[in-house]
């Protein structure tokens, strides 16, 4: 692997929240549960150690501490009682990787059909697509740092894929 690139499996609590993203009570519940407003289309919002990701027009993914996920689900259920929604702990259904270092854009561009050039893909926008042969969502938190979420059962594939794509001397050197 290229020395400049680090790949790390991160233990991350995750909650899927489906509902009417325009509703006031959902906004209030999200604020109370994770501390931020409801993200706009494909937006990633941060509040302390929590993150809210826009996944689809009626779905958010909330990132919280792994041991807090059940509490957040319970909290959302309480604050949205009476309003149609679905909140569920998916922490263990997903795996999260952090990909860090110069060249990280090029690593992902080997397997994701996404324009990852600087200026075209920038931090705090989430992109759901595929990496190699599996579904994934990723976003940047700062220059050269990506967070990647995939299904738990293919975490092994994802890890192998990332290490393979990041191996020494294999980057095309287009974005640098």
């Amino acid at each position: 692997m290229s020395d400049a690139i680090h790949i790390e499996l991160v233990a991350q609590g995750m909650v899927t929240l489906r509902g009417d993203l325009a509703s006031a009570s959902l906004a209030k519940a999200v604020k109370a549960a994770v501390g931020c407003t409801v993200p706009g289309q494909r937006q990633v919002l941060v509040a302390g150690e929590n993150v809210a990701l826009w996944m689809s027009p009626d779905e958010l993914l909330l990132l919280v501490r792994h041991d807090k996920a059940d509490d957040v689900v319970a909290h959302l259920g309480k604050s949205m009682a009476g309003e149609h929604h679905l909140a569920v702990n998916v922490s263990d259904a997903r795996a999260m990787f952090r990909l860090q270092g110069q060249g990280a854009r090029e690593v992902l561009a080997k397997g994701a059909p996404v324009d990852l050039a600087p200026g075209q893909f920038e931090p705090w926008v989430v992109r759901r697509t595929r990496i190699g042969l599996v579904a994934a969502a990723f976003w940047m938190t700062e220059a050269d740092t990506f967070e990647i979420v995939c299904f738990r059962s293919v975490a092994g594939y994802m890890e192998d894929w990332l290490h393979h794509a990041a191996r020494k001397d294999s980057l095309p050197g287009v974005f640098s």
Partner: protein, 1004 residues
Amino acid sequence: MSKRLSSGGRLIDRAKPVGFTFNNQHFEGFQGDTLAAALLANGQTLLGRSFKYHRPRGLVASGAEEPNALVGLGDGARFEPNQRATTTEVFDGLKAASQNHWPSLHFDVGALNAKLSPFFPAGFYYKTFIHPRAAWKHLFEPFIRRSAGLGKAPKLGDADEYEYFYAYTDVLVVGGGIAGIAAAMEAARSGARVILIDQNAHWGGRVLTDTMQIDGQDAADWALAQVETLAKMPNVTLRNRTMGAGVYDHGYALAYERVADHKPGDGRPRHRLWRIRAGRIVTATGAIERPLAFAGNDVPGVMLASAVRDYVGLWGVSPGERTVLVTNNDDGYRTAIALHAAGLEVPVVLDARDSVVGALSVQARALGIRVETGKGFAKVLGGKFVTGVDICAQAGEGELLETIPCDCVAMSGGWSPAVHLWSHCGGKLNWDEGAAMFRPDAARPPLGDDGTGFVIAAGAANGWLQSGECLEDAVEAGKKSAIEAGFKAKKAGKMAVFAPVEQPLQPVWMMPAKAKPALRAKAFLDFQNDVKVSDVRLAAQEGYESVEHAKRYTTLGMATDQGKLSNINGLAVLAESLNVAIPQVGTTTFRPPYTPISMGSIAGDARGDLFKPTRRTAMDGWHEAHGAHWEPVADWRRPYAFVRKGETVKQAVTREVLNTRSSVGMLDASTLGKILVKGPDAGKFLDLIYTNVMSSLAVGKCRYGLMCNENGFLFDDGVVARLGVDEFLCHTTSGGSDRVHGWMEEWLQTEWWDLQVYVANVTEQFAQIAVVGPKARLVLEKLGGMDVSREALPFMGFVAGALAGIPARVYRISFSGELSYEIAVPASRGLEFWEKVAEAGTELGITPYGTEALHVMRAEKGFIMIGDETDGTVIPQDLNLGWAVSKKKSDFIGKRAHERPFFSDSGRKQLVGLLTDNPTIVLPDGAHAVEGPKLSNGMENMIGHVTSSYFSPTLGHSIAMALIKGGSQRMGQTLSFPVSRSEIIRAKVVDPVFLDKEGARQNV
């Protein structure tokens, strides 16, 4: 005799010699050489044998269009056949070998075919090897395969790595000659993102050989300076050694980068396949020189005129000492002039045109070169090398005028624009009568997603062969591409180009024009596939009037060079034979890739562990460590059985079944799909999705349900648990979770979007462990934390709580007929829980079991398995599951289909059990039951087939399930299952529930 010249060679570094081998003989070349140039420099003119007649073949071209010089490169795990010597860069240690010859290049037994060539005309194989039929398989085909063919397939796995790269750009420019460079510069100056690629290791294209002036500067220097400027622009990506392989829908292009072919094993990927999405694609791919069709034009030493001067100019190599040039255009004279300048002899230039006045011909004459007009070749003399030429009048039948000794022939039949990339995605061509070429029709380009053309041909690739008009066209193309990609073009300064004015060519499709059959039969069109002028004429004569038919009948243009040199000449001969104009014959379809690309690059990183993602459960590692014999189940891997030392897989399965039935077993059932369905309308929705009623299910209870599609066919099943008033958890088959989740989303989003329901696929959130057998309850009690008694947790109920301190939901459901609990815990604690179960069960004799034991036990109970008992044509009623199809509900998916009369036909295949007469014989899966006399077509009358078949250790008897016509009426009948010509297995039709029909075992 070819040799290295003492000076010259723009691309080579004479200070850096490199050693390589060809057919195990050591040679030296220079850095910058292609393998072709280095071989020529060493006097190697014979490089291979042709495909059909095994005729000796040498170099024809200097680039990607080369048809002959195919070699095997490397060895062992880095061997690759059929590589073009003209595009292979020489490096220290390169190993190359010629191919398609036996026993040696110089003495080829297969060359006997050439002596027989009058007997191998077009379509010979089709005509000859039809009768007797058996002879094809045993006699003709093996012989043809042995003696024909290209290189040998590699025997070892590829040692190299390959990968993809997704790139996005406003403008992709393919071709780094002056047109591509000018177009890229024009587009880049607008601020557009530009990718410029060239297949060669260097930039500049033909101007490196064919000097001229741009803005008072040598054009080659101009090109390199422009590239340097482009390299500094942040919006420009430059790649050489990168071939534009294909153009596809909506601006998609594949580019094939040969990253490390010239430095094998240096740690980089060997090839990189760029998947480029471009707003506009500029094809500045230049033009390809055409050979002339004359007798003996395939003798080694006969080359394209442009190639001859490339070898002299780029690599300082002379293909011969005495070169005769034959041409029908002015450009060919450049070769005579270049050879003269290099001190090589040009005894004569034969120009097929009667009147020759162009500046280049004037220049050649002024140098003292003899020019003969209205002349051509009757034939080339020589076998393995050229010894001379017989000259004749072009207009005649080939009467000999003069014989001129020479060792090289340079031929130029004019140029064809490389329109491949323009054409790949539907760009149309026009025939330019004056220039005798197909050129892109700008009014009919390939169309993109917005309905506008997305490919722009530029320069020579657009038919502008003269450098001045070529550059002008390229600048326009660059500007157009930028504007159409949404940028504002900057005003460009006009470039002053100085190049000689050329006189138009005169098309020559046969030399001499009235050549007799004997000459036509030696005039090759397709060098690699040995297609001659006479073959195409024969095809036309036999009625193959469509170019696509003639191509397949003669194999013209079907070799690895895909007719780059032969297409136009072949078309012209066909047109002439049919007595029609060339555009009426049309052209064959150009398909990607432009030149062959490696299989490795197509596979990319999808090999070895990355070939296919394998889904693994939380306990995967434990299984691996405990003797799991794996089985793929959809994308998952699951233990088929846990094999102990000294045990066969079959013995392990038997042990697992017996232990579970008599004591207790544990199963990793995590792969079962789990879909959460929630909302005020969840019950209503599930009543539409399932055939049975789910809305009436009590909270805390489970119900088995079936799903049909609109055709009424059963496609998934599973247990539904009602978690709350508006919340259900639907279990699906292991392979069906994504499909069922997608199915539910589809109906909610596209049909019943008024329903207030959300679904979520939570399959992987849980590790699910089944504890099964008479002692199952004891195991759970030992784990502690939850009341799992018969009263607290009855059959088809579930409770939530904690077991052994781990949060768990325990379902009392059974797929084996035993007392059985399925326990769902968070996947992150799955392994921990699994180990605790194993530990708690040790003294009770618990053993893990795999999917085969699971299958045997479910079959003993007559439970169906989706994919075994169903095949997409089976309705629930066929499987005796009519009880699970509601008659009360007004609608559900599949209900209307079930109303069709043939679904209630008593003659439909129905599920039955089978007991073989001989209890030790297990029926093969899929075995057909036959009955009565044979049908009129001689086939057996088949009445059904075996869907599942096992040996039941519990019963000590083979058991099977089958779908048999009118099966429920056949109880007690004995059916015949022929499994081979001589063997018929006989089995009795019985109830498919073989064990414990009353359910006493699970009712504890």
